[in-house]
Amino acid sequence: MSEPIITLEKLSIGYDNQPVLSDISFSIPRGSFTAILGANGSGKSTLLKTLLGLQPPVVGKIQIAAPAIFGYVPQAIEFDPLLLLTGFEVALMGVYGRVGAGRFVPQNERAFARECLRATGAEEFARKKFSELSGGQKQRVLIARALATQPDVLVLDEPTAGVDAVATHALLEFISRLHAQQKLTILLVTHDLPLVRKHAQQVVWLHQGKVLLGTAAELLSRERMAEIFEMEVG
């Protein structure tokens, strides 16, 4: 296993000093494909927000190997349709981290954003309004935007929510290809077990306030899952 890019040490996460999950310790190896699993309200989003620095941990710390840039792919439904942005303008935001305040985006960065749209198959609809794209098309634009940040870690928050089965399959195949070809660290938040079985190497399962860790094969085997759910009943 390669060296960790993210390490969580005795971390408690939550809101207003009220922990949702406590005493979490695990690491994410560089170049791995890790899935964060859990039911609604299990703390997936809180964990993700804490990892991204959007909210501080209640206790403990997160070590991130420098330099590590996060390419964040939020859920497409989070975006307000009032904002009149084209797919290209959304993808272009990915390069803003490299362009200083008050400076215009240079041509080479604009070309790079276009290249990212091409790589995700989003180029043909990049001139349309983002709010008018389908769920799958929006996700491709958002992945292009995340790639435009030139990330070390690609963080995807339920990218298949509101996306049909065909588009879901295509999206996950694409993310897997990215992982294999660019050696990107992938952190995928989902509650879709078949997708996790197929694509993830490591699983972080948030269940009943506990954090279960293991490979997809170990944790998602029939026997282990029965054990986990018996634990819940018992």
Binding site: F79, D80, L82, L83, L84, T86, G102, V105
Partner: protein, 295 residues
Amino acid sequence: MESLKEILSPDFLLRNSLYTSMLIGFACPLVGVFLVLRRLVFMGVALPQISSTGVAVALSLPMWLGASQPEHTATTEHALAFAGSTVFSLTAILILAFLERRGRGHPEGRLGAAYVVAAALSILLLSKNRFAEVGWLDLLKGEIITVSNADLLLTAATLAIVLVVLGLFQKELLLVSFDRAMAVTLGKMVFFWDVVLYLLIGLTVSMAVLSVGPLISFGFLLIPPLTAHLFAKNMRQFAVFASLIGGIAAFLGFWIAYQWDCPIGPADVVLLGVIYALGFTVKKLASLFQSKSTG
């Protein structure tokens, strides 16, 4: 058409009022775009009213300090009003920004309460001020007929600063408005950019309230962006269309008011309302026609 020729003449007596109205008309919608996009329309109504209370407080200061009679000239009165308007609107917007960042409570409720208390306080202050003159009420209603060259310059300079900052930092302001999480992961100082945006809004509102009053300021902040949103295809078009609608309506409103001898501000807002209603109808008819032709 005679009145139009008169208005366009360089020797027109009220030319500074016209220029000021048009400056406000062009500039207010540019910051109004952000209020609409960030769903802060209530702030658009509360802030001008708070700014207006600042004017009333500033104009009451000489009496509170023991002045036995109004010694101030129109220039000092305007300077006092400008200071009161700016201090109140900037303070209010920074407090509201801080509360919004904490993300607790009811933002709409806070804005509603701020609006109604500010409105009531303005009335109280004016009613208890023995120096209150018709001119003061005009100032609060935005019925400034005579605008000095210095006032016009001050308005133009302030609005120019707003425009330059908006233009230079549009990508930062857009990013924090569109996706705060992304802005944080890119290492942008979200709170700082929020404050910059709010200061720009506060500054524009202060100038607008002094020139056209709180109600008309709200009209210019809100209606042109709503109309532009019906037709714009991207953010640039949204901002440009909104600004043009505001500027042109300010000119036409002034002309109508001059022609029919009615108050300028209300004429502007009614005209903006008519433009919005027309735009809405055209948009609805166009989509109806489109759906019929494709269906």
